[in-house]
Every structure is written in structure tokens, then in C-alpha cells.
């Protein structure tokens, strides 16, 4: 492909900011796939089919990163040479750790009690919490450009994502 592949924002021709325009992202993603998907090149020479495969793959990868706020924040930090989940990175504030433990305990209790609606409640609370963090990140990345503070919030958001994934898994087990 090219010597320097475009970054995820450039690929979709959207401004490199955290508070991105999701409808433009979605419609540009579809435009790129409509132009570059391997199905469009079934009768083309092998090299063009390969190029199409590469481009469609990069577009899928970039889209999956940009549409998730946690992955997007982590990616933006990486662009600045910061690994948000590195072991050496700042420790979590005590109050957040306490809150995490509380969530985990509630999930464990709900799992024992096979209480799916309680798990849904916890997931809703987490979603509200995540929404507030996303609001903070818009300000930290796009207005204040405070990457240190953004890193801490990003770590929180990644943790919340993980807890949400765990809740989904527990619900799935109980639902079986």
C-alpha cells in the first residue's frame, strides 16, 4: 500500500478530535466500503483484489476503534506516544477503586441470586458513569488538550468497558 498509511481519522476524512461526528463517520465508512470492498473487485486483477482486501480490512479496523469511545481515546493517546494501559502508568484514584470493588461485589451477588434485572441495573449505572467520562474526555482532548488528565479518564473508561463486558458474560451464562 502507501509508504505511510493514513491514521484512522484521515482514512475517514474526519477531524482528529475526540468529540467526533458519528453520523459522518458512519456514512463515510459505508462510502469507503462501497468503493473498496472485495465484492466490488470480483472480476478485477489479483493485485486490485488484494488492495481492496487491505483497504476494506483497515476500514473495518479503524471503524471499530473510532466508534468506541474507550478505544478511540486509547488510540488518540497512542498517537501521542502514550500507552494508557501500561503498567507504569498512573495508579487509579482510591475512590474509583472503591467504586469498582463495589460494582464487582454487586455483580457477584446478582450472579449468585441469578438476578438478571439487577445486572441490567448495574449496566445502566455504568453506562451513565461512562457517559459522564466521555463528556470529560471531549473537554480534555479537544479544548484543554490536557493529555495527562485524559489518560486517567481513559483508564477509567477502559475499566468500565471491562466491567460491562463481564456483566454481559454473566448474563449470558445465566440466560443459558
Amino acid at each position: 500500500m502507501q509508504s505511510t498509511p493514513p491514521n484512522h481519522f484521515e482514512l475517514f476524512s474526519i477531524a482528529e478530535q475526540f468529540n467526533l461526528d458519528t453520523s459522518t463517520l458512519e456514512s463515510n465508512y459505508r462510502k469507503i466500503q462501497s468503493a473498496a470492498h472485495p465484492d466490488r473487485f470480483i472480476t478485477a486483477p489479483a493485485t486490485e483484489r488484494l488492495s481492496a482486501m487491505h483497504l476494506a480490512t483497515s476500514a473495518n479496523e479503524a471503524y471499530s476503534v473510532l466508534k468506541s469511545p474507550a478505544k478511540r481515546a486509547k488510540y488518540m493517546l497512542e498517537q501521542h506516544g502514550i500507552d494508557a494501559i501500561a503498567d507504569t502508568n498512573t495508579v487509579m484514584p482510591m475512590d474509583f477503586l472503591m467504586q469498582q470493588m463495589e460494582w464487582r461485589e454487586r455483580i457477584e451477588d446478582a450472579k449468585m441470586a441469578r438476578d438478571i434485572s439487577e445486572l441490567d441495573n448495574i449496566a445502566d449505572e455504568l453506562a451513565t458513569e461512562a457517559k459522564a467520562l466521555v463528556g470529560d474526555l471531549c473537554e480534555l482532548f479537544d479544548i484543554k488538550q490536557d493529555l495527562a488528565a485524559a489518560t486517567e479518564i481513559t483508564r477509567k473508561l477502559i475499566f468500565i468497558d471491562k466491567v460491562c463486558a463481564d456483566i454481559d458474560q454473566v448474563i449470558e451464562q445465566l440466560d443459558h
Binding site: Q33, H37, D39, T43, P45, S51, N60
Partner: protein
Amino acid sequence: MALLQISEPGMSAAPHQHRLAVGIDLGTTNSLIATVRSGMSTVLQDDFGHALLPSVVRYMPNGDIVVGHEAQAHQSEDPVNTVISVKRFMGRNLNDITNKAHIPYRFVEGSDAATTRSLQLQTRAGLKTPVEISAEILKTLKARAEKSLGGELVGAVITVPAYFDDAQRQATKDAARLAGLNVLRLLNEPTAAAVAYGLDNAAEGTFVIYDLGGGTFDVSILRLSKGVFEVLATNGDAALGGDDFDHRIYCWVLDQVRAANENFSPLTEEDTRLLLTKARQAKEWLTDNFEAQIVCKLGNGILVDVTLTAPQLVEVTEHLVSKTLSPTRKAMRDAKLSIEDINGVVLVGGATRMPHIRHAVQEFFKQEPLTNLDPDKVVALGAAIQANILAGNKSDDDLLLLDVTPLSLGLETMGGLVEKVIHRNSTLPIARAQEFTTYKDGQTAMSVHVVQGERDLVSDCRSLARFELRGIPPMAAGAARIRVTFTVDADGLLSVSAREQSTGIEAHIAVKPSYGLTEDEITNMLKASFNSAEDDKKARMLAEARVDAGAIIGSISAALAADSQLISAEEVKAIEAEIQKLQQLSEGEDATAIHQAVDALNHATEAFAAARMDASVSRALAGKHLENLDL
């Protein structure tokens, strides 16, 4: 020129020449074949006007093989040699099959114990694999299409349940090859249904496809927007369908008969098939009626005469209905959607005719499901539309399908645990890499075990392939950096490569599940059926090489005419030189030399192809029309 028509789908179609392509719904109970004619997707019928071909294969005493209605009519007399619902055995070994006691077949474990090979059925025509039996159904459909379309088929899109794993997909592909079909694509059944439904209704928005067939259940959630069909999530149960409802009724009938007859002897194979058939008829009758009478005489002289009411049917099959709702909830969670986000629910598959299924779906989604397309035909109709496009026919339907991986793909790590590399519901095509390291000091080889499934333990997932990376330089445990890359292409086929980062030592594998047929077996089976001579093969190879050469010269010349300004004059010259070389060689008789020159030309155009691709994306984002970019 017949040989040219079945070559790889890499060549450009001559303008205005319609290439015959079909969509095939290879179903558990019934199969169909459809094609796009004069812009309309149509199901093809047999000489008697039947659209549905019962997926029943009977091996006759005289050596003939009968497929369809005639085979179905004799299933109770000759159950051992009349195979129905063979789809349930595709890509499976004996351990995968539950309730064997209630299926009237003589199962035999696959011959090669080391690789847990596919199960086989003992018939009067000998041992038959599910792949061979399915190929008979496909051959019958192919013959129907060629007769009705008056020509050889360029290729086929064959549908599979979205929740089929790699082994089941591979088995389906093997069956198609055995039937002499060129597979353009395996397409997920709910996606095919969405295409037919979406185009028919010019639908936009978020739709759920609830597909309960004879033996499989799928649920897919798709976003339809301006001709792009984007699958957001899919889930299902590859062993749940209308057959299981029949089986529940059959068990209920047996309970009634046992209660009424003290000395009830075990059923013969004929009795089992007879009662299962009666059960299916009763189920279908209850769709429009309140009660069904089941009357028949068993081999031991006992007369069965019981009445099943609609509420009783609901009661005995209630848990099967709720078994479909659990995957539905999972798909909704994976798509991160709630009930209010759903614009419509489309019912697919004959089993969704049952009123209590419709009721359960309506209750769950709080809206009346859409049933304006025939649930038996919608999958084949959608497959035909995709086949028409993939065959290279120009179409008014400018559509693109973005499908997903139904099951997670991962690697075995220490302790028999699974590390997922590609998560379920990732959009295709996809490539993901992950780094692993050594466990012991001085470890020089690493075994890479590829598995598919959602569970944490390797033993609970399906094993797809194993390969080894050797020649790792001896280092302390944990020091080596081995990067394993998983790639799944638009066909859903997986390949895996591993690379030690410091030395660059690599190993690759295109995953061929241990349940599939080997390349040799396929070749032997094809040989047995076609008996093609060596000369034939040579002539065919040369013909194919020439077609390939002609196609690539044509398309690259067209590309140069359109876009040569994207590269330097020297690069253009280099490409033109390769074209000339290939032109000369393709007038000769050496197929290998032609292939090499095609490869060289392909290689010479790599940078040009990438530049064209970038240009086309820029144009797409700038909102310009893309029509003239296609070759």
C-alpha cells in the same frame, strides 16, 4: 468453449453477456434454487411445478439415487437408505449427534480416528458421508437450473446458517465442489433473507431476521442504509429447528401409546420414521387448525390413534421456543440495541409458520413480525441476487453486504485456556494480530492450536487446526515475541500466520478444519464421477491460463487508459512491457509459463493498484459517482 465457462471468477465478463449464476438454499427439510432473470429474482421449478425440493436422498436397490419428493414418499418403508435432514450431520462427528437412538440411521464413526473425522451413514450403496449425500441434492438442483436456463452455470452462491462453524461451512463447500458447482460465496441465510426483503420493500433502518428452519436457528440484526446491508450481530443454535418440534411430538405420542399398551415392544426403524412423519404432519396441520389426529399402525400390530391439540403442542414445545429467545437476547446485547431501536422483524424458515412462534416473537419485540415474503423462498431469492452481482453481471441493485464472524476465533494458551484473537460479530474482512511468548527457558518450537467458540476452555471449543512454528532461537522463558496474525476474508475463511519477531521466522496455515475432506479425497471423488483423462486436464489448464491472461491484459489495459497519470512514465512502461511478454506467451502452448507471466504482470501492477484504490476512495469520500471505476 464449455470449459471456459466454469473457470475461476477472476475474469472479466464480455459486455452484454449474461453469466448464468444461481442462489441455492440448501435446507435441512427443503432446498431451492433461484436465479435473476430480466432483473427479477425467481425461484426455479421442476417439471411438475414444484419449487421446493425435499432434502431427501434415497439409495435404491438397483443402484439409482433418487432425490426429492419421490424419495420422501418412501421414507417410512426404507428409512435406513432414505436420508432426510442430512444438513444436521454436516461437519459433525458421532459425539456431536444427540438423541441417536431416535434417528433411524446406521451411523459409523469416520475412518481416520486420529483426526476425529466426519461421521458416515451405512446405506445399501455403502458408507456415505453427509458431504456426499448433500452433493446429490445439489446435483439435482444444478440439473434443474441448467435445464431451465439452457446453459452451464458460471457459479453459485450457497446459503448456510449464520451460526454454522468453520467445519460445517467447509463441508458445505466440499459438497458443492463434489456436485460440480463453482462456489462464488457461502452466504449466511439471514443475510440472504435481508437482501430479498430489503430490496423488495426498499427498507431502511434496523431489522431483525428471525430464521427458524428445519434444523437450525439463526437470528441476525442488520442495518440497511442506501444499499449497504451491515450485519450488526448474529447468534443462533446450529442444532435447533422444526425437526426438534417433530421430535417432541413424537415423544409425546410414544408416551400416550406406552400408557395405553402394557407390553410395548421397541420400535423398528420403519416405525420411528413413520411416527416422525406423522408428527411433522400434525405440527403443520395445527398451524391452521385446533386439533390434529395421529393415526397409524405400527409394525408390531399396535394401532396408534391419538389427538394432539394446539395448546398441547404449545406445552410440549414451549422450552424449544424459549431456546430461540436466548440467542435473540444475546444478539441484541452484542448489537447494543434495545427493542425500541428495531424497525422491523422478518420471519424466515418454514417453522416460523407455527402460531406460537409468531406469538413469542411478537411478545419479545413488542411488534407484529413481517411475513409478506414466503418464508420458504426468501433465502434462495436473496442468494440469487448476490450470485448475480458476484458473477459480474451488471445489476440495478447497487448493494453491498457487510457480514460478520458468528463465533470467536482464538488460540490455545497454557493450561488449555483460550485466548480470543477475533471476537464474534467482527465485520469481515478482518485481520488481527496478538503477541505470545514462550513458557520454558530455551524453548525453540511453539505449537499453534486454532479454536472457534465462546467458552474459556479449549475442550469446550471446536478445534480448527494445529501447526508448529519451529526455529525460535533459545531464549529465557517469556523473552521471545511471537506475533500470531488471524485473517478472515470476505468469504469467512480463516488463515493464520505466526512470526518470531527477532528472527523473522514464519509459519502459515490456511485453516482446513479436521472435519473437512482432504484435497486428495475431493480429487478422487471428482475423478470417480467425471473420469477425466490426463489430456483433458492439460487442455483445460491451457484454456484456463489463456482466459486468465486475456482477462488480466484487458483489465490492466483499461486501467492504464483511465488512470495512467497516477504513476510515473517509467512505471507505465514497465507494466506495458510485462503485458507484451504475456501476450506473446499466451499464443504459445505452455500453461505454466503463462501463469508465471500473469504473476509477473500482477506483481508489476501492485503500486498502480494501490494508487487506484486510494484514488477511488478519495473520490468516494468526495461524493463523486463511482460507476466508471469498476473494471
